[in-house]
């Protein structure tokens, strides 16, 4: 099959699976998951074929696989949509295909396939367990089929976004994922917390989306196209970067890039729109959590990386950053450190990961903001692998803990609170070792983990190009990352079990552990494709394939960084220092009371939720319910309308009393008056209330006024 045709087909199987499950197979759980996994496998297969063909093409950046069709007639021209596989999308497609397939397989086990239906389970609430042979055992998710339909639709959105050659279909995929994240966060919609979290996620990201829509409109207007390859021509970029936009001193290119970037702030949960992501952990953990945290949020970073030529229009390597780039770099670096501080004080195993995701995305955003294109992509991909691994691992832990909870029957124990765990390494060895790999990759454990290579590259880039503030900020954030990661590992897996439930935790089925093993291979191995050329000893052993390949997306290959010891030593110190400190502090801690980092300000996430509630949600609700609905519509506007009634009544009675009665009745006799009286009497019953009467009369006023206007103004 021609590669282009194949690319068109990649997103389709999951969406077909969605429709199949929703319309036909939803009663049959086995059939539903088979359809979904089969579809995910087909997409994975297509992606791998495309990926292999893509890496075989020399200068793929110059001659990508592309194909497009007319979609929307716009006057005399067309808006085209199409697909494109260039080095960037090929690299992203690779990790998307793997992580998506792993989620699908993992979900089978996580939702207790093969277990009996629950005794009191209800659609919309998490399963509570079933009684079998006198024991309480986990029960299958009542909405099992629906879950697979949703993640199918989600996969469609993600694939569409990746293979798009234009911003419009990127936005389509983007929003479809937004819908899926809404549906999945609110999967257990019977819980008010899940319902609210779903709405919060949708609305917060939508704030970014409307800015993005403006940016897309602006770009479309300014260039007449939304296709990347037509926008990223030297000519177009030059024009865009030299036209001032009139806003904040940005060029047109800068303003468009910033507008699009605000979409990313929402989607990738960057400050100040980060508030939705931790709450998104309400979804069935960790599968959907992972969808939002490891895959969907990557879409935001992908979009800003995609728009890099626009963002950096007018900038060249080594020069001072453009205002738009500075803004992006600032948001990224600030978010990286800001979220890391919150992560330190969280006790929920998933929330720690959620904040760590926000922080790591900040690293990527900061990297792209300072022009470190390849480093940003590299970290995007390695992070996707090890964060997916960590989320699935945390789900495995929770699932194992839930087993313990069912065993003891004490439902007051929160299976997600890390202080209820401890010593799980013995109970859940596969989960432990894979989680350890993921955690070390996240911390940037030197040399062996993928996270080290990608994070080091960002730090090196920041240092070498003289962005010292960013460098220091990110280094501190990296230190905290290692610290809270080790805190998490220590509290969860090391030491002794702190509760009975943890003692009875159990390792999960292969459908859950196999994906962990696959992902941990990438969490280690993917780093080796991007080892810098000048790295001591290791550099040059394996060619820096990643730099050559992904860098080729840009018009000019980014220069290779000169080696410097300072960032490397910094990387080593922060990673190893953070890990040791985390272990040292938490190895003997038994309860949250002993934890010195449970600072209220951090624990309450700097009170952002509360602040937003008082600053935006409450005033806007008041504005809607009271100001607009009551005061403006029912008050002012309707009152003005109701004035017409009495006014008309006044005119009517004046005419009656001062014209009809004296003139008509007495002058023309009572005959006509009788007729009028008869008509009036018969009309009266339909006038049941005052307002109606007023309104009837208002037409009289309107006709009189209209007549006057006509005769005195128009006919004069």
């Amino acid at each position: 099959m021609a590669t282009e045709t194949l690319i068109w087909l990649i997103p389709l199987p999951p969406v077909l699976a969605f429709f199949l499950i929703v319309l036909f197979t939803n009663k049959n759980k086995a059939l539903s998951h088979s359809v979904a996994i089969g579809a995910a496998f087909l997409s994975w297969l297509g992606s791998m074929i495309v990926f292999v063909r893509a890496i075989g093409v020399e200068h793929l950046g110059k001659q990508p696989f592309a194909s497009s069709i007319n979609w929307l007639p716009t006057g005399d021209t067309w808006l085209k949509i199409g697909v494109l596989i260039d080095p960037l999308s090929a690299a992203v497609l690779f990790f998307v295909a793997w992580t998506v397939l792993m989620i699908f397989i993992y979900s089978v086990g996580y939702h207790n396939y093969g277990q009996p239906a629950g005794d009191h389970d209800q659609a919309g609430l998490p399963p509570h367990g079933a009684t079998a042979h006198g024991h309480t055992v986990p029960s299958i998710e009542p909405m099992y089929s629906r879950f697979f339909a949703f993640i199918g639709l989600f996969a469609f959105g993600m694939y569409t976004l990746v293979v798009s050659d234009n911003l419009l279909t990127l936005f389509v995929g983007w929003e479809i994922m937004g819908l899926c994240s809404y549906l999945l966060i609110g999967f257990w919609y019977g819980k008010p917390s899940a319902r609210n979290a779903a709405v919060k996620a949708f609305m917060t990201t939508r704030i970014g989306d409307v800015f993005m829509l403006l940016g897309i409109s602006f770009l479309y207007y300014a260039t007449g196209t939304l296709t990347y390859r037509e926008i990223f021509t030297e000519e177009t970029l030059h024009v865009l970067s030299s036209v001032p936009s009139g806003v904040f001193g940005l060029s047109a290119a800068g303003l468009i890039a910033v507008l699009l970037f605000i979409g990313t702030i929402g989607k990738s949960a960057q400050f100040p729109l980060h508030v939705w992501l931790p709450d998104a952990m309400e979804g069935p953990t960790p599968v959907s959590a992972m969808i939002h945290a490891a895959t969907m949020v990557s879409a935001g970073v992908y979009a800003v990386i995609r728009m890099f030529p626009l963002l950096s229009a007018g900038w060249h390597e080594g020069a001072a950053l453009t205002p738009a780039m500075t803004f992006v770099a600032f948001i990224g670096a600030f978010t990286a450190i800001f979220a890391a501080t919150i992560a330190v004080a969280q006790n929920d195993i998933k929330r720690v990961l959620a904040y760590s995701t926000i922080s790591q995305l900040g690293f990527m955003i900061a990297a792209i903001g300072m022009g470190a294109y390849v480093a940003a992509v590299f970290h995007l991909i390695t992070h996707a692998f090890f964060k997916a691994l960590l989320f699935l691992g945390s789900g495995s832990v929770i699932h194992g803990m839930e087993h313990g909870v069912l065993h003891t029957g004490n439902h007051k124990v929160d299976p997600q609170d890390m202080f209820n765990m401890g010593g799980l390494r013995k109970k859940m060895p596969v989960t432990f070792w894979t989680f350890l790999i993921g955690g070390f990759a996240l911390s940037g454990f030197p040399l062996v983990t993928a996270g080290f290579w990608s994070k080091d590259e960002i730090l090196a880039d920041a240092f070498t190009n003289g962005h010292l503030t960013i460098f220091i900020t990110l280094a501190i954030a990296a230190f905290m990352t290692a610290f809270y990661t080790m805190r998490q590992i220590t509290l969860t897996f090391l030491g002794e079990a702190r509760t009975k439930e943890a003692e009875h935790a159990q390792e999960n089925k292969w459908t859950m552990t196999a994906p962990l093993v696959v992902l941990s291979v990438f969490a280690i191995g993917y780093g080796w494709v991007g080892i810098p050329e000048h790295f001591p000893l290791l550099g040059g052993l394996v060619p820096n394939w990643f730099h050559e390949f992904v860098g080729g997306t840009l018009a000019e290959l980014p220069p290779v960084l000169a080696f410097n010891w300072i960032p490397l030593l910094t990387s080593l110190v922060v990673a190893l220092g953070g890990l040791s400190l985390g272990w040292f502090v938490y190895k003997d801690i038994k309860s949250p009371a002993e934890d010195k980092f449970q600072i209220p300000l951090l624990k309450n996430k700097y009170y952002f939720d509360e602040a937003y509630e008082y600053l935006f949600i409450k005033p806007l609700t008041w504005f809607s319910e009271v100001f607009v609905s009551k005061w403006m519509d029912k008050g002012v506007i309707d009152s003005i309308l109701h004035i017409f009634g009495p006014a008309a009544a006044g005119i009517g009675s004046t005419i009656r009393n001062y014209f009809d009665v004296p003139v008509v009745n007495q002058f023309f006799g009572d005959g006509s008056a009788d007729v009028t009286y008869w008509i009036g009497k018969n009309l009266r019953p339909i006038q049941t209330g005052r307002i109606q009467q007023y309104l009837i009369l208002s037409i009289v006023v309107l006709s009189v006024v209209g007549g006057l206007v006509y005769f005195f103004l128009l006919a004069a």
Partner: protein
């Protein structure tokens, strides 16, 4: 076949009326017969419209399938029918929604005969507006459409129906006074009401000449506003919108479907057919004002929708919000007339009319489905109904997402085109309208959250109040809408081609 081809429009237009008259002779007690008769009768225009659509040639400029019959000879007015790309899509919308509305009304048991007859009369009234190429006939149909709707609300409505129906009737009629005067003025000036002739002769008026004792410009300005206010009330544009929530809330379900689905489009259609062609200069001058009102409708409409506790009122306000985008597109087209931006905006506006017709009709229907079962529209009294009615819930979420403008469904395409077209011309207004777009999300999600999600209200789970799932007939009403919503969202070309050609020819 020849007869069919030469009389296609008049057939589509009058088959409903003739059927309604035939219904007079059917026995009043046979409700089943009456329902099916009305339904089948309304399918005939739909099938004929499909014939019309397939024979319509988008590449031809001007009006097609024209028919002229002498009417008011003395006034030089004739029954002149014809369609172009814009009106043919509106005709399709009308003939599609009417059978669905009638099918949705199969649960009505009170005075079925007059009820069904009114719907058929209503269809003729609405179609007449879209097909007329004669101003006087246009006005006649414009007013005819009001009468059946008045009675539908007044006789089959809920608690506050008297107030709502009268407000609807008086307000619209009050607005059309100016329209009538404006039409009269044109008729007196040119000695004809024929639109095609008027289009040709109107713009040949010299700017400097004196008309009715005033400079042409002043006359045109007054007439422009007379037309604009009439259509603005119908659309409705802020601040002329307060009749709409009242009318919708009280109207029977099928009445709301047609009110939101088609009647509101009459106003927007008036802008396209009369205001922009006749007053391009004035429209350009006042485009800012129009855009201001449109944005006010978008923003306040969204806020007001969010502020409601009555499900149907929420949906009614959403219509104001969505129709605001139509007017924004019209304003942009007026401001940038002749440019590519104007055409994109105009394409978006017309498509938005069509799309809103589908999604609003669907939303009102779904509200009706649940109202029929629970006899309440109060959002606070629902909650957690999803497990009880999974199919209904899925359909409601789908329709809500269409209304929200989710990419991949129809609303997004048209809203995107409007925003794209309006952005370069009316930057600030477009930017402000984004607040409305944001809050569209808020009220849509509020609806879903209050009805389907959250802890289940046990009242509806057991006993006499047990909520029953949406039935087959109801699914049949909503499925055609869903299919079209999805098809237009994915592949809008089939309808946009038709609209686009007409837009390019006109503007």
């Amino acid at each position: 076949m020849d007869f069919l081809n030469t009389h296609l429009l008049s057939l589509i237009l009058f088959v409903p009326t003739i059927s309604a008259l035939v219904m007079l002779f059917l026995p009043s007690g046979e409700t089943k017969l009456l329902r099916w008769f009305a339904f089948c009768a309304s399918l005939i225009p739909f099938v004929l419209t499909l014939v019309l659509w397939s024979n319509f040639d988008p590449n031809k400029t001007g009006f097609q399938f024209q028919e002229i019959y002498p009417w008011y000879e003395a006034l030089h007015s004739s029954l002149h029918l014809g369609v172009d790309g814009i009106s043919v899509s509106m005709v399709l919308l009308t003939t599609l929604l009417t059978p669905l509305a009638i099918l949705a009304s199969f649960s009505v048991t009170d005075r079925v005969k007059p009820y069904m007859m009114l719907f058929l009369f209503l269809e003729t009234g609405m179609l007449g507006v879209f097909m007329s190429l004669d101003l006087l006939v246009f006005f006649v149909f414009w007013e005819i459409g009001l009468v059946p709707m008045y009675f539908l609300i007044n006789q089959w409505g809920s608690a506050n129906k008297d107030y709502a129906s009268l407000k609807f009737m008086i307000y619209t009629m009050g607005g059309s006074l100016g329209l009538l005067l404006g039409i009269q003025m044109l008729g007196v000036l040119f000695g004809t009401y024929d639109l095609v002739t008027l289009y040709e002769r109107w713009n040949s008026l010299n700017a400097g000449s004196i008309l009715l004792g005033m400079p042409v410009h002043t006359v045109k300005t007054i007439a422009f506003w007379a037309f604009t206010i009439a259509f603005a009330i119908k659309v409705p544009i802020w601040p002329f919108h307060t009749w709409l929530p009242d009318a919708h809330t009280e109207a029977p379900t099928a009445g709301s479907m047609l009110l939101a689905g088609v009647l509101l489009k009459l106003g927007a259609y008036g802008f396209l057919r009369l205001v922009l062609p006749f007053y391009p200069l004035e429209a350009k001058i006042f485009a800012g004002a129009l855009a201001f009102l449109a944005v006010a409708a978008i923003v306040f409409g969204a806020f007001a929708a969010y502020g409601q506790t009555d499900f149907k009122r929420l949906v009614a306000y959403s219509s104001i919000n969505h129709m605001g985008f139509v007017v924004l597109g019209i304003a942009a087209a007026a401001a940038a007339v002749g440019t590519a931006d104007a055409r994109i905006a105009m394409n978006g506006a017309v498509l938005q009319m069509f799309n809103h017709g589908l999604s609003a009709a669907g939303m009102f229907f779904l509200v009706g489905v649940i109202y029929e079962r629970t006899h309440t529209r109060n959002l606070e009294e629902f909650g957690g109904l999803f497990p009880l009615v999974p199919v209904y819930g899925g359909i409601l979420i789908f329709m809500s997402m269409a209304s929200l403008g989710l990419p991949g469904l129809n609303g997004f395409v048209s809203e995107f085109m409007v925003v794209r077209g309006a952005f370069p011309v009316l930057k600030i207004y477009t930017a402000i309208s984004m607040i409305g777009l944001l809050f569209t999300g808020a009220y849509i999600l509020k609806g879903i959250a209050k009805v389907l999600h959250g802890p289940m209200n046990e009242l509806w789970a057991h006993g006499e109040h047990k909520l029953t799932e949406i039935n087959t007939r109801e699914i049949l009403v909503v499925v055609p809408l869903m299919i079209l919503i999805l098809v237009i969202g994915i592949w809008p070309m089939w309808i946009l081609e038709v609209i686009n050609k007409a837009v390019v020819a006109l503007f």
